[in-house]
Symmetry: C2
Subunit: 201 residues, 2 copies
Amino acid sequence: MITIYLAEDQEMLNSALSAILDLETDFKIVGSATDGQTALQQIINLQPEIAILDIEMPKMTGLEVAKQLRIIDQDIKLIILTTFARKNYFESAVSNRVNAYLLKDSPTDVLVGTIHQILSGKTIYDSALVSTILSASNNPLTKQELKIMKEFSQGKSTQEISKTVFLSYGTVRNYISSILSKTGTHSRIEALNVAKKNDWM
Amino acid sequence: MITIYLAEDQEMLNSALSAILDLETDFKIVGSATDGQTALQQIINLQPEIAILDIEMPKMTGLEVAKQLRIIDQDIKLIILTTFARKNYFESAVSNRVNAYLLKDSPTDVLVGTIHQILSGKTIYDSALVSTILSASNNPLTKQELKIMKEFSQGKSTQEISKTVFLSYGTVRNYISSILSKTGTHSRIEALNVAKKNDWM
DNA sequence: ACTCAAGAGTGACATTTGTCACATTGATAA
DNA sequence: TTATCAATGTGACAAATGTCACTCTTGAGT
């Protein structure tokens, strides 16, 4: 019997998946949670063979849970199950050595198939995800530029930004000018839109 | 046997729910789709007693599907099933006389229960939703202000906005000034953040 | 050793933005 | 029947923003 733990904050999907997986003759759902913290604790206690983790959950993301679990348990099989084909998420997942990264845009039988596959040692990345990642344009913004962009995305003025990042007023303006030129825009709002579209934030 | 159609664009939830509902002895899933257009056509053809509609779907939203269905069929029971407790969505749903509005933050047995309840003539609104709606602050922005806000949310300059909405440069600036004062902010980006937080867009 | 990018800065300039005061019109609520 | 509000507009002012040109330092790569 393959023991599985499910961490998914959307109740409807959580309860539906629990039921579906439990119907499989060789699967046993040993527990489920709707937030990351509870999930982490219970997985440590229950020691399932497989943990299915959503990324965006309250209290702790699935990626953080994965990271913590990998520290104390090298063998547990981890499946990230998320809506988002985001480069950042995927990179973090890979560096935490998850065994599979699936999108919720796949039907349940793909999930069932994946569970069997990773048990035989394979690593599965959703193909739709991989093509999205490959076609994603690379972030041309430097660390500082990104930092400053995050500041003005909150609506801060140049003055306020210069204070919170400890840079001169002029320097901040130069960075913003550079951001605008790299995004091919002429205003902060446009730049933010471009950054969001390309997942640079 | 109660015939049910399911329109839900997230494959994982779609397939999981189809399976779960079909397990109920008195339910029969007669079809499902992952976009609104297909859903509308098939519902018209298949004439199920109940249609479960997600809101955010490709091609046509669940709310639009509901509207079209109500025009040609007064009797079909409609259930809106969505992630979002948004006032706009809810108001639109009510005006299209849906029989239930559920959040995906409820477990599957609530959905099953709801189906039975609406068949006996009841109308069900998720309680979490209702309290969210009641506590939602009312949009203080006028139509014009909203229109102009949508323009500058795309990053347009005052000049560009004045051209696309056929208003003088000065008038647009007055509207923006008024938006800033109503949102209690001093910049467009801040105003946008406030509007997003309060669901005024 | 040389080049290049990132980081930090100054100064100057033209525009854009945000703010105010004020005015007219039409609809609507008290 | 007044107010009040939305919609529209002008003019003027101060501050913020975006752009350029230039400088300097440091670290990484060729």
